[in-house]
């Protein structure tokens, strides 16, 4: 039961999620990568809670899950609206806020 394994796993998952946000073009896949980053941080919270013997980390993990859920609701709604008006789910196409 080596906590460092879990921390390393959390770090790898976080990096994968970050790379996914930066590289993928489809908005839904970017969302999935964001979820992956959130879950990676959840994992590290729980691991530290286990190693320190308190429950603070596990309570924080709950908070994070609630926030992730709310964010998914709002984000998917926005993506749906963009898809309906533009017929495209690519993040590169929504680049009107430029000079």
């Amino acid at each position: 039961m080596n906590p460092s394994n879990y921390i390393v796993l959390s770090a790898i998952l976080f990096s994968l999620g970050a790379v996914g946000v930066l590289v993928r073009r489809n908005a839904l896949v970017v969302f999935m990568s964001v979820e992956l980053m959130l879950n990676a941080s959840n994992l590290s919270f729980v691991t530290f809670a286990r190693t320190s013997g308190t429950l603070d980390g596990q309570v924080t993990a709950f908070f994070v899950m609630v926030v992730a859920a709310a964010e998914v609701v709002v984000g998917l709604a926005i993506i749906m609206m963009i898809y309906r008006s533009r017929r495209s789910a690519s993040v590169d196409d929504a680049s009107l806020l430029k000079l």
Partner: protein, 645 residues
Amino acid sequence: MTVLNGLLASEQVPAAAEGIFSLMWLLIAFPLAGAAILLLVGKRGDSWGHVLGTLTVLSSFIVASFLFFAEVGREAEDRAIEQILYQFFAVGGYEVNVGLLLDPLSMAFVLLITGVSTLIHVYSMGYMEHDPRRRRFFGYLNLFVAAMLLLVLANDYLILYVGWEGVGLASYLLIGFWQHKPSAATASKKAFVVNRVGDVGMSLAIMASFAAVGTSEILAVTGAADRMSTGWLTAIGLLLLLAACGKSAQVPLQSWLLDAMEGPTPVSALIHAATMVTAGVYLIVRSGPIFEAAPVAQNAVVVVGTVTLIFGAIIGTAKDDIKKALAASTMSQIGYMMLAAGLGPVGYVYAIFHLIAHGFFKANLFLGSGSVMHAMNDEVDMRVYGALRKVMPWTFVTFTVGYLAIIGVPPFSGFWSKDKIIEVAFDTSIVAGVAALIGAGITAFYMTRVMLMTWFGDKRWRDDAHPHESSPIMVGPLVVLAVLSAVGGAMELRILPGGGIEPWLEPATGYLKSDHILPTIAYPLITMAVVAIGVIWSWMVFGRDPIPVTPPAGSVLTRAARRDLYGDTFNETVFMRPGQYLTRTLVWFDSKGIDGAVNGTAAGIGGLSARSRAIQTGFVRSYALSMLAGAVVVIAALLLMGGRL
């Protein structure tokens, strides 16, 4: 050296003004009120303005006469009277009161100024009869008289400076009176600017006197001359000399006087012959104790006087414009006065004596030339005059009297005063004496030239010239001034009220009789011989052959004299052109350098912002990358700090 009454200038203790002397302020108030009324009343006053202008100055002259006789009735030591009018200001330790000091020196000046002004105002009523702006002319003349009287009556150098500036202003307004002529406007500006250089000297002298003594009151400063250090005394002396050079048109500030002849002839007579240009001499004589205690400054005065008397005389020999010839003569004669004033107590009295005599005969000559110009349709070129003596007999006679006075023929006034100056010059320095003598010879030469070209010879008139004698209102003052030029030498007589000019001025200026190296009779004989040589030489050059109407080429010296001995050229090359280059460089620097820096900074920031704008790509993924990069930097910083935050 023997002394007349044993008094020195710094020993005068002024009494307070009582009785008739409390009316001293009226001397200035009359012409000042006249100026204010004439300049503010507008066109309504055009019909009577000139009469009012003359009456105010006449009233000042009457008051001055009363004051003179009241002064004569007092003891010699007791003739200084001071009237404090009000406090000008008191700042810190510096207090200045507007006060008038009437002592024999200022009394002499007041009589000269008011008397000659009255005659010139009367003359101007005739001369300016057809000028539409005549009322304004009299207003400016009155302003001038008020300022000049303030100058000579002031008891404080700062109040003297107020009068000093006032006469400079009046001179500017009057030289440029015919504003529509560009040459007149330029000449008035030139006069003002050159005078300004002298005014710098005056203001610095006032500041220096405050720094050295703590006050600028004239009697206090001259009384403290034995206590000040030589450095301060020399500085104040040289600065006062600079001021005097500006106002009296002495070398190096002489270039404005000949151009000032653009003004109407009464202006030339009053301001640039009899009164304003003598203010410099007044300043030097009034500040006598300072110069006596600072030999460097005193020698500088003598040098300036000697150089200028020769300088002006040489210029006068080649001028065809009658007024410019007389102006060069004025420059030269004031050089004589400066020379005498620079010789110390032996010369002060004679400087003032010559000043008064010169006021008479030079005003006479200028008014006479105005009469000639009036008759010849305002023509000033003597080359188109000739044989006027038959047509204008009165002007001819008065002009001749003035001529004899200026060249120094006995018994006319110029003989007595100029001879005395040559005497004291020889007693102090052979060089100055010889220069004064040569100057007298050259004076005789060029004045004879003026006489021959104007009054004798053949008629060289233009076709439209119909010369006639002037009206009585113009001839009257000429006659009075001619009489004064003739008998003015009698000022030396001891039987006069006041005792003659030497005992009269002695309490104010100091007087020492100098020892002569030659017997006294030798000086007048040598002078008259030199004058005779000048007259005969002039007759031989100008009197025998007809005068050419176009000026001949002339020698190098003649051409140099026509160009004012390159005075203007010198000013242009040394001061004007470098000044122009400097200002052009500064303008260039301002537009390229300073404007360039400001505009360049603005352009730089504009370019920077244009480049920075490119970060706003609109791509979400690039924003996400920058967020990630920032987060990485913060975490790295935290790790490196190792928790020290």
